[in-house]
């Protein structure tokens, strides 16, 4: 207020001006820091919750899958294909020259050493996310004997590599580990 500007308060103000500003700035910055810190839990709550994370790895019993068969199971709410390749399918996959592939990988790159017959992939087409056919009994397996995505016609071979159609990459092989000859842990 203009009426306050008398001689003695003006003097007091001159000497106190720094301290006064400092306190106001400190108070406002503290409030700001508190507000920012509060935002963290308010946003972090959207991350996967503990019960969802608890299901992020599963163990699958594969003892019942005969050579040439495959099963479709669910992992992280997505389909997963576990396929027991026949010797024929393995040699088919190994016969391919990787240099000519869109996403060059050998069957050995995509399986566990010593267990090359177990092809474990996500059942999610890398094009737009449809579930390819070929895992269940009687479904068409496409031109290369692996999987076939009916949405836009992507053909995968017996190592689940993309051979024809719009998909940019091979079917994803999730991280997995054989706990024994009959149990595989995915994730």
């Amino acid at each position: 207020m203009a009426t306050v500007e008398t001689a003695d308060t003006a003097v007091a103000e001159e000497s106190g001006v720094r301290r006064r500003d400092f306190i106001n700035i400190a108070a406002v910055s503290f409030a700001g820091a508190g507000a920012v810190a509060t935002v963290f839990p308010l946003v972090n709550q959207m991350n996967p919750s503990a019960d969802v994370l608890a299901l992020s790895s599963i163990e699958v019993d594969i003892s019942a899958i005969e050579a040439g068969q495959s099963i479709k199971t669910s992992w992280r709410k997505q389909p997963i294909f576990i396929r027991n390749l026949t010797a024929d399918e393995i040699s088919q996959a190994n016969a391919v020259d990787t240099a000519g592939l869109r996403d060059p990988e050998t069957l050995a790159d995509r399986t566990t050493p010593g267990k090359e017959n177990w092809l474990i992939t996500l059942g999610v087409c890398t094009h737009l996310g449809c579930v390819p056919l070929g895992a269940a009994q009687g479904e068409i397996k496409g031109e290369f004997g692996g999987y076939f995505c009916p949405c836009h016609g992507s053909h995968y071979d017996t190592a689940a590599r993309i051979r024809k159609g719009p998909a940019p990459t091979n079917l994803v092989v999730p991280e997995h580990e054989f706990l024994s000859d009959t149990v595989v842990k995915i994730g």
């Binding site: 106001n24 919750s49 503990a50």
Partner: protein
Amino acid sequence: MSFPWAKEYTPTTDFGQWMDKQLPLPRFIYNSVGAGYPAPRNLNYMWNFGSLAGLFLVVQIVTGIILAMHYAANANIAFDSVEHIMRDVNSGWMIRYAHANGASFFFIAIYLHIGRGLFYGSYKAPREMLWLLGVVIYLLAMATAFMGYVLPWGQMSFWGAKVITGLFEAIPLVGKPIQELLLGGFAPDNAALNRFFSLHYLLPFVIAGVVIMHIWALHIPGSNNPTGVDVKGPQDTVPFHPYYTAKDGWTIGLALIFFTALMFFLPNALGHADNYIPANPLSTPAHIVPEWYFWPWYAILRAFTFDFLFIPAKLLGVLAMFSAILVWFFLPWLDKSPVRSGNFRPKFKIFFGILVIDVLILGYCGGAPAEEPFVMISQLAAAYYFAHFLIILPLLSRMEKPEPLPNSITESVTGKPLNTAS
């Protein structure tokens, strides 16, 4: 806005000027809670609870939106989804406890804010509309809080919903159909839970809208003050910013300390154990009580134990409970004393003190089981409550001789007459 000496917003940057021409939002804020709003210089700490109620409304809306991301409004899984929030969602327990206790703090702030208005005559001309909007906010907040308490679908949620919707049953002829309409069934179930969730999500935004009108209505006459004397000139006011933003700022810190202490160390102190038992339509809790902020009204509801002629006691209780709040709508015309502030009304001051104690007693009885002596005490207390607003205040304005008022706010602050102030 209201006073000619209010500082004018002058944008200093090019961007500020461009903004001011196209969307004068900074000007709007400057004039409502910035330096452009001159507020009486003598406001005491009772004037801080409006901003605190606003703070807790924001806390409730923010935490509520987050809880709605995880909550499932289905009678089969609602209870478990709340426990999912408490156990598995990242920081979910913190957000839920903030929401549950934030409701209590919202009501603490709003009750002190109402009490301030009652004592200092803030409901009197020219602020009747401001007061009426405030009562509307309070009613909406009660409805919101009640429906929110139903959502966890615990025992108290279920039976609270049943008792409160059962009140409508007391209305003659149309009562039963109204109750069934509200519940979408014959007892609370999925239909009721879903609509309560929908409305519980909607109403806070309606409240926020009415709050904006409330603040708008405040800025036309300007704030009341502890003397109740009108602002006479620039020497009576200080700019809202930085003076009252700083004052509100530090009390917000203080309120948050109390709030977080309760929320982190005694998060269930204001809740009820029965609400951790899933709703069971076949078993009633030993004694059904609403949340503490409804206790005074609940005591009034239960105080009517005898039929009056053809009016059943239950209907009387319902009428009285609603009248107890609706009477506030008529308050500006019931109390015609020209003096606003209770500080200068010696007799009013005494009756106001009795009213405060009376409401506390009603609150205590409302939370106690419905047995003697609590029913008798609440009958006396409820009798005073109605007498205070409907009989004492109208008569007091005629019979009381107020003390002399100061000539101006500045005079009351400095103790010197106005003419020497400048």
